[in-house]
Symmetry: C2
Subunit: 418 residues, 2 copies
């Protein structure tokens, strides 16, 4: 089946927002074994929407349209589509009641324009939105299926797999190609090197396609196989995984939906271990990542963002002489911070970061990007020194990820470094 994607919104054509919906929908469609022959974006404008729909209808078997279904005046997708095909709009009372109930439940004030979200073109069927108030709809225009859903990326990630794909599957009917994929997640390896490391693997021979997705500071490598024969597809994917793992093993921290904070959380919780974190250059980001995990209060005892020297001494017991002699950004201070936070919190593990995130504060001896990360369990202490490039935010991000990964390796291997 041949899919056209149309995303609608002035935020797209102004370049203010990057369109992440199109690639998500394309990926999802490809996973089903369908091809995407065109992706289009237009602004919240009647005329441009109609022209784009004409193009998609002319050349595709089905269309996925996102955006412009909200309650505000610039949300005109439904009206534009109805106009394009000469369809009247009707108020769907059942949907209206559902939306009103949702507003009441979340204590959002009902405004007259909110009712707009229950208006649909005649002949369409609604598509339920499990995570928002704007429902979608599907139209069959002389055999071409047009699905229209809201454009909020968080909602697209639910409503497309749950509401749109099943509708399109019915349409695609017989084709039935088995598709499956696995993702390897890496930290600390540049994309070009990943590419080089995998260059001798005959993915094509295995019928496996490879995608590199840099997600700073990580790189995700996705292996996908599409084959009419499920057994052969699975065998080939497993073989491709094995060959990739052999070549990248040192840098793989997880697979598929794994995150570093989730992995650390699982290990600590399952072993009944506790953790305290002392952050200087990462400024609270490690604590923020860990506390994104539901249930993190089971192992995460406290975090200290010791930005001033006084706070390093007061809260973590780092001797003022250590800071004076070696500097706040030094191995000695990092180690003392990790030991200090562990001791005061009486946890099993302590981790600490200190560094220069920039853009100011660098010196010849300690340039911007100098970071020390320490992990201790009270008996054994690891401290690693990094020299990052990148900007302030990126230095915070990569330092936080490394801190979590050093801890993770320490937990699973008994030691942090190779």
């Amino acid at each position: 089946m041949n899919i056209g994607i149309l995303t609608i919104g002035n935020e797209l054509t102004s370049g203010r927002v990057e369109d992440t919906n199109s690639s998500f929908i394309a990926r999802t469609a490809n996973t089903e074994g369908w091809q995407v022959s065109v992706m289009m974006s237009v602004g919240d404008n009647d005329d441009d929407i109609c022209k784009a729909l004409d193009h998609v209808l002319m050349f595709c078997d089905a269309a996925v349209v996102t955006g412009g279904l909200g309650p505000t005046v610039d949300d005109i997708t439904t009206v534009a589509i109805a106009k394009a095909y000469g369809l009247r709009l009707y108020m769907n009372e059942a949907v209206l009641a559902e939306i009103k109930a949702l507003y009441a439940r979340y204590r959002v004030e009902w405004t007259p324009n909110s009712a707009k979200q229950a208006m649909f073109p005649e002949g369409s069927e609604t598509i339920y939105n499990p995570v928002g108030t704007a429902w979608g709809f599907v139209l069959n225009m002389n055999g071409t299926i047009i699905t229209v859903v809201p454009g909020v990326p968080r909602e697209v990630r639910r409503i497309v797999p749950e509401g749109v794909i099943p509708l399109l599957r019915k349409e695609a009917g017989k084709e039935k190609i088995f598709t499956t994929s696995r993702t390897l997640k890496l930290l600390g390896m540049p994309e070009a090197k990943v590419d080089q490391a995998l260059s001798d693997v005959d993915f094509q021979g295995l019928g496996v396609s490879v995608g590199f997705y840099p997600r700073f500071p990580q790189i995700h490598v996705q292996l996908t196989v599409r084959d009419a024969d499920e057994v052969r597809a699975t065998a080939n994917l497993n073989q491709a995984m094995k060959l990739s793992q052999e070549r990248l093993s040192k840098h793989i921290f997880g697979y598929d939906n794994d995150t570093l904070e989730q992995l650390v959380s699982e290990i600590m919780t399952s072993r009944g271990l506790t953790l305290a974190v002392a952050e200087s250059c990462t400024g609270g980001l490690i604590a923020d990542l860990l506390t994104n995990v539901s249930g993190s209060s089971k192992f995460f005892e406290r975090g200290v963002v010791a930005y001033s020297n006084a706070s390093k001494t007061d809260l973590l017991g780092v001797p003022a002489e250590v800071i004076e002699q070696f500097g706040a950004v030094s191995e000695e201070t990092a180690v003392a911070m990790a030991a200090g936070v562990r001791q005061t919190a009486q946890t099993d593990f302590g981790i600490a970061t200190t560094g220069i995130a920039g853009p100011t504060g660098g010196t010849d001896k300690k340039p911007v990007g100098t970071v020390y990360i320490a992990v201790t369990d009270g008996r054994e202490t690891i401290c690693r020194h990094f020299s990052f490039r990148w900007d302030r935010r990126q230095i915070k991000e990569i330092s936080s990820h490394w801190a979590l990964d050093i801890l993770r390796r320490r937990l699973i291997e008994g030691k942090a470094d190779e």
Copy 2:
């Protein structure tokens, strides 16, 4: 001038790579005062490229096309365009010599297919590539300007501003439409309510277009005016701003590139004030936001992520009886945390958060989303109670933004509320 953007590559239609070129080009075009009426992406496929070009040529004054100009077999853009318009290809000997020199300089082996990059459609002019071997070209098809450049994002970021925009400027020549915009940034007002509050303003009469951009937990309202007369444009935009401000004032925290953390940072630094933060439910996110601001060490003394009750008592001096009597999630605990962190850090201000981010931990009396935020300067203490919906991450985000905004209002108005 009306621009169409066409990006070409199987990596786009497979969803493997997100298209960052389109939004970059759109942004650049908008800065010039031009409108983007359509953005399209197609795979490396003759037929799809031709159809997309037809669409762009029909509805746009100029097109920017990227991708498919490299030396490999799947780079077919030049051939596809020549075919579409019945143009012969010719070898540009000057470009060929330049490319050969570049290969030699970078010691890249010359292969026969590399010469492909010096083939151009007859009637086109070349566009120099300052950062790669694939040059672009420009064609004038009955008054529509088609510029074609390579698709490597790094190259697009050089060749579009340096090579493409000057060509389009020449074309735009006379029209000279003045475009300018302002953004109002709001916290604590649902999109539908913003829309309603502005519903009596005659933006259309002022020639001002309005865009709502929800950036959870904020909403950004962008007012844009396009007018041949700069004086009239500016006056109309100012009038639209004034009317919007009157209607939204309570909820506006900033404008254009303002962020809450940047505003707090500027006020604190300019007044020589210092801050300490005690976080429970926000888990370090407030500290993370504040330390994203370069120079935040001037006012941000420390942060404490007091996740356990023990840490609230140890690090912040919250009496165990307060926690026992009122609960860790209570006004009393929030106030004690803010006072405690301010006192131990000896800062001018202390802020604190405590709440239930979920998804577990809620009770009938204190459901998930219950959050207390306290701000104190030692004499006056404000504590606000919130009942948020949303998921764990969103509760962290909205609580952190409110904490910063309560502090900001306290700083500029002498009181936090209204």
